[in-house]
């Protein structure tokens, strides 16, 4: 049978605050175990949590950037369960009245724009970390992470394919980075994803039974986990079976999901309002103040790039992936006055070299002014596009500017008619047979002569001039 997948995602994004959500311990990654804790985050009796103002500001900012309604009154709740990484026996989270609700983001898949609803975004605290010793009969607990502020972003079940799910996650990550509330680094576990997926017969409007795949931590794994689940559930349904509503985990070494039976009965969390924290009441004034700090977001920037610089949609999309990349582009485009050429160089040579070394644009040895300088030299005819590639690689290696490299290596383009004519004469003299064939009608040989002339000039001859002069000379 033909099925349609119905996918909803829950993303946990760590907020980039200096301190934890309810105490003044530093939020740190990779520190020595249990050196960033205090009586509040290790759940000593009698302590009281005090909310981090920055965390509230960041979640409101996220809500505004994703078109959410900001609830004027919001409150915390206790989610009760036992686990060794959860010192209090409950997690402070939100249940009724989350900070943000009813938002949306737009994604583009296969040229189609789709709107993905955001059900809610709420604040909660992270748990500690368990270390499982292989063989032994004990586990170790590090509570440095306990109490780190998280935002849980819950999407509507609006996603239909693994590609849409991945695109949605990328868009979300891009927005969080633009507004600087989370570095959304999946490798560090600062952007984790739970997947809800069910199948239904194509065309149906009711929902099937869903499975939840917990804690998937890379875009690739999300894609793989979804592909596997779609296959698995389709097979069950085709055989007349029923999908079991359960929590599953993804095994990235085998690209399969498997049932996580141990936690099944723990799903009764008995939420109740957190008595240790008072409500968050947000005024319009506060909302307006935060709104003013939101920069131009990826979608708006993309359409502006198309409008202002005449870029194709694809270029504009790629160049607005991060704020730093877009800023680099705008600087180089402005300085060179040739926006499309800048885009070509950035998306071609620059990305190729940077990706090979896994570097971010901020670390590029070629700064925007240097790229613009080189592009200007091409425009002015000082160097050919071909020579520019050599210059570019040298710039990348040495960090020198194009003019210096061209001067040092004598790469200036030869646009002197006399000099080029001399080379052409030599090339024709050296290849009498090809010349005769050409004159006899084998016009394809023209390319051969261009190649020979360029080679003889060590690539420095102005290609346009070579073309013109060669045509004349060969026909004489």
């Amino acid at each position: 049978m033909n099925y349609e997948a119905v996918i909803g995602l829950e993303v946990h994004a760590q907020l980039q605050t200096n301190t934890k959500i309810f105490c003044s311990c530093e939020t740190a990654f990779g520190e020595e175990a249990n050196t960033r804790t205090c009586p509040v985050c290790i759940g000593m009796p009698g302590v009281l949590p005090v909310l981090n103002r920055k965390a509230v500001e960041y979640i409101i900012k996220t809500g505004l950037a994703t078109d959410c309604t900001i609830n004027r009154s919001s409150r915390f709740a206790r989610k009760n369960y036992f686990y060794p990484d959860l010192p209090k026996g409950y997690q402070i989270s939100q249940y009724e009245l989350p900070v943000c609700e009813h938002g949306k983001v737009e994604i583009v898949v296969d040229g189609q724009v789709r709107t993905i609803g955001i059900t809610r975004i709420h604040l909660e605290e992270d748990a500690g970390k368990n270390l499982h010793q292989s063989g032994g009969n004990s586990s170790l607990v590090d509570l440095n992470r306990a109490g780190t502020p998280l935002m849980e972003i819950v999407s509507e079940p609006d996603l239909r394919t693994p590609e849409e799910a991945t695109e949605y996650l990328k868009k979300l990550r891009s927005i969080l980075r633009y507004i600087e509330v989370s570095d959304a680094d999946m490798e560090k576990g600062n952007f984790r994803c739970d997947i809800n997926i069910s199948l239904r017969p194509a065309g149906s409007t009711t929902f099937g039974t869903r499975a939840e795949v917990k804690n998937v931590n890379s875009f690739k794994f999300v894609q793989k986990a979804l592909e596997y689940e779609i296959k698995r559930q389709a097979q069950i349904l085709d055989e007349g079976g029923k999908v079991v509503q359960e929590t599953r985990l993804f095994d990235s070494s085998k690209n399969v999901t498997f049932s996580m039976r141990s936690k099944e009965e723990a799903h009764d969390y008995r939420y109740f309002p957190e008595p240790d924290l008072v409500p968050i009441v947000t005024s319009q004034e506060t909302i307006d103040g935060i709104k003013a700090t939101i920069p131009e977001l990826p979608d708006a920037k993309r359409s502006r790039f198309v409008r202002t610089y005449g870029l194709p949609e694809y270029d504009a999309y790629m160049l607005t992936q991060t704020k730093a990349l877009a800023a680099y582009y705008e600087e180089a485009a402005g300085l060179s006055g040739q926006p499309k050429v800048v885009s070509n160089w950035m998306m071609g040579e620059l990305m190729r070299l940077m990706n090979a070394e896994n570097r971010e644009i901020e670390e590029s040895p070629i700064r925007p002014d240097k790229l613009a300088g080189m592009i200007k030299m091409i425009g002015e005819g000082t160097i050919s596009t071909k020579i520019a590639k050599t210059v570019f690689e040298e710039m990348y290696k040495s960090g020198k500017d194009a003019a210096t490299i061209v001067k040092e290596q004598g790469l200036t383009q030869v646009s002197d008619t006399g000099a080029i004519e001399k080379i052409i004469a030599e090339v024709i003299a050296a290849n009498p047979a090809q010349h005769a064939d050409y004159k006899a009608g084998k016009e394809k040989l023209f390319g051969f002569f261009v190649g020979q002339v360029m080679k003889a000039s060590k690539g420095k001859a102005n290609p346009d001039l070579v073309n013109d002069l060669l045509k004349k000379k060969l026909n004489e």
Partner: protein, 95 residues
């Protein structure tokens, strides 16, 4: 409001409490009485009354995002029944 013994057993399990049959019967009875007592509140007409988020009339109690010293590892672990390599040591978690 009546509560069943099965419900008592479920709640006890979630709270990791081990109860004898005698305790189960006694608690079923007591919890039923408590719920019946609280049920009286349902007689009130609460239309137009804002739900109480907190019994204290306070809001927006927050702190600045400024780091203060944490406990040393030694102090953090001082009350732990068992520890190893700077960690709390707990019975093996079966996953």
């Amino acid at each position: 409001m009546k509560i069943s013994q099965q419900e008592v057993e479920h709640v006890a399990k979630l709270a990791r409490l081990e109860l004898s049959d005698q305790e189960k019967a006694k608690l079923t009875d007591q919890l039923s009485n408590i719920l019946t007592y609280v049920e009286k509140l349902n007689e009130l007409d609460t239309k137009g009354v804002e739900p109480t988020a907190h019994v204290l009339d306070m809001k927006n109690v927050m702190r600045d995002d400024a780091v203060e010293p944490s406990l040393s590892q030694e102090r953090a672990l001082a009350n732990a029944p068992e520890k190893a390599a700077g960690h709390y040591k707990v019975p093996k978690i079966i996953e």
